[in-house]
């Protein structure tokens, strides 16, 4: 079944308070050497607090573009994007950086940890850009690492950790600022099936604790962990289904 929109949104409206992500007729066009590529062609998507959404779609369907927009790494060509009751689609670079810092926790397929820094320092990174003092940073980073079950690996460097542990460090880093959304891009793409299951358990725990999660994946059995699956095709939403957990 296709999920109905939570709100009949029109330009000029503001989203309802429990809607974390609201995109309205979002388009994104790239100029590829004189040829205009329309990666997104009007995506309207609403995600409520504490939803667990998987975004699927074949390559070229626009799911990466959508992720970049939701993650405030990119701005749309037209359309609106509201994140946590704030219209972010027309913010400048530095303002977007603040939003990324405060509202979004990224988890990447390739973990993207700083290789020479300890797990603790990696997790502290977003807090440095948030301007927190050293003591506070450390306390929060320790707490985040405890939440993903890595309290005993804090002083290890990434190359001293297994793939699953590395991804858990990355999740701790994503959580440390207590973001509105956890944005995961193929989080199990570089992991074996056992470790993937382990990470999916972490996600499930976080979801239970109230975390809003948006996850891009092309694996159906990973998408199956989410409560809602949005499928993109040719730059538009093809299906949007809720499923039993």
């Amino acid at each position: 079944m296709t999920a109905t929109p939570l709100q009949a949104f029109r330009t000029g409206d503001t989203p309802l308070p429990d809607i974390v992500i609201l995109t309205h007729k979002l388009t994104r066009e790239y100029d590829m050497g004189g040829e205009v590529v329309r990666a997104l062609q009007g995506v309207s998507l609403q995600i409520r607090k504490n939803e667990y959404v998987a975004v699927m779609g074949p390559s070229g369907s626009g799911k990466s573009t959508l992720m970049n927009l939701i993650g405030c790494l990119d701005t749309p060509t037209t359309g609106e994007y509201w994140l946590n009751a704030q219209k972010v689609s027309d913010l400048d670079d530095d303002a977007l950086a603040r939003i990324r810092n405060k509202e979004i926790g990224f988890v990447f397929q390739t973990f993207n940890l700083l290789p020479r820094a300890t797990a603790l320092h990696n997790v502290e990174l977003p807090l440095i850009y948030a301007g927190l003092g050293a003591r506070e940073r450390r306390a929060q980073a320790v707490h985040a690492l405890e939440r993903v079950g890595l309290a005993d690996r804090m002083t290890h460097r990434p190359n001293e950790l297994s793939g699953g542990q590395r991804q858990r460090v990355a999740i701790a880093r994503a959580l440390v600022n207590e973001p509105s959304i956890l944005l995961a891009d193929e989080p199990t793409g570089n992991l074996d099936s056992t470790t993937s299951a382990e990470i999916m358990n972490v996600f499930a725990d976080l979801h239970r604790q109230g975390q809003t999660i948006v996850m891009v994946t092309h694996e159906h059995d990973i998408a199956a962990h989410a409560a809602r699956v949005v499928t993109l095709r040719d730059g538009v939403i093809a299906t949007d289904q809720r499923q039993a957990a």
């Binding site: 790494l73 810092n101 993207n112 440095i128």
Partner: protein, 412 residues
Amino acid sequence: MPVFEAFRLALQTIRAQKLKSGFSLLGVFIGVASLIAAWSIVNGVNRYMTEKFAQTLYGVNTFQLRRRPMFAANVPDSVWRAWRRRPRIKFSDAEAVTAALTMPVVTAWQSDDNGSVFYGGKEARDIQLVAASERYFEIKNLRIAIGRPFTAQENRSGVPVAVLGDAVAKRLFVDRTPLERSVRIGGIGYRVIGVVEKQGSVLGFPLDRFVVVPAFAPAQSLVNPPGVVDALLVKARSEVEMREAMEVAEGVMRSRRHLRPNQDNNFVLDTSEGVQRFWAGISQILVVVLPGVVIVSLVIGGIVIMNIMLMSVAERTREIGLRKSLGARRRDVLRQFLAESAAIATVGATFGIVAGIGLTLLINAVSPLPASVSPMSVALGVIMGAGVGVIAGVYPASRAARLDPIAALRQE
């Protein structure tokens, strides 16, 4: 990100990439080290010149009446030719000036030229042959090690006696005593009556290669035409009295030479200030050349740092993308890379300072140049080093700051 964090991070990166950082700070290192070493040499020689050299050559409160200055730098040909046309100082001039000086002064005549001194089959070449009057030793502060100086009578009557410099005595007599032996100068035998204490050297020039004979001895004809003296040395008790004596001497000479008030002196009253002016002329050249050397090495250092930083930005594109995705603003990234290049340069400058000071001490120890570290050069070294780092870092850092996080994250 606070500045402190940026520097902490920068130092971490430098520690992690020792080799690369080592190469990149080489330029600044060399620049700052050469700045300090060269500056220290100039500084040291300067002080030496003003404090010691001038005093050694001229003596305290002493002036010399001469045809032309003993030391002169950057003298145009026309001036040289004019100097050469000037009349020489005659015995009669020297006597008249001496007679006119009523204040208590010590005077001596001096003429000199280079020549050889022989003893037996041995020859001491390139020796300063000095024909001087008896108070010369006193004015020049030459203490006699063995034997005695010649007397006023010996001087007047031109007795062929000689007082040797330490190097000449060693060259001709090795370990034996030179006293009462006869050395030959210009084919005439001179009885050695004394040897002067070892004087050492100034700026590598030995001060012990001389022989002093009486002004009226036959050797006078070797160093000057008859009746001519190179210099009249006048030593006063104080600077004030020296100035007075100089005025008297000037008046006497001008009237003897029939100079009208609008005519310039055709002689000089040379003091240690003259030597200092001469040195100032030379050090001015250094002051022009030295910054050139330093600037060239700092520019090279800056280019090297810029290159390394560009490499570093390219290598760490992914890291920059990640930092941006975690909330780093442009200015955070800019600051991080600026801090890094400034830190590299400052570390280079610090090593440069240590090496520069070391080099200075080494030069001081093994060479005749009396180098001494100038605190100004150290301060300037730090400032210039860090400045080069910041300037060299601007372009790479702004490139890093402008990176698109999506493209940066996608890069392998």
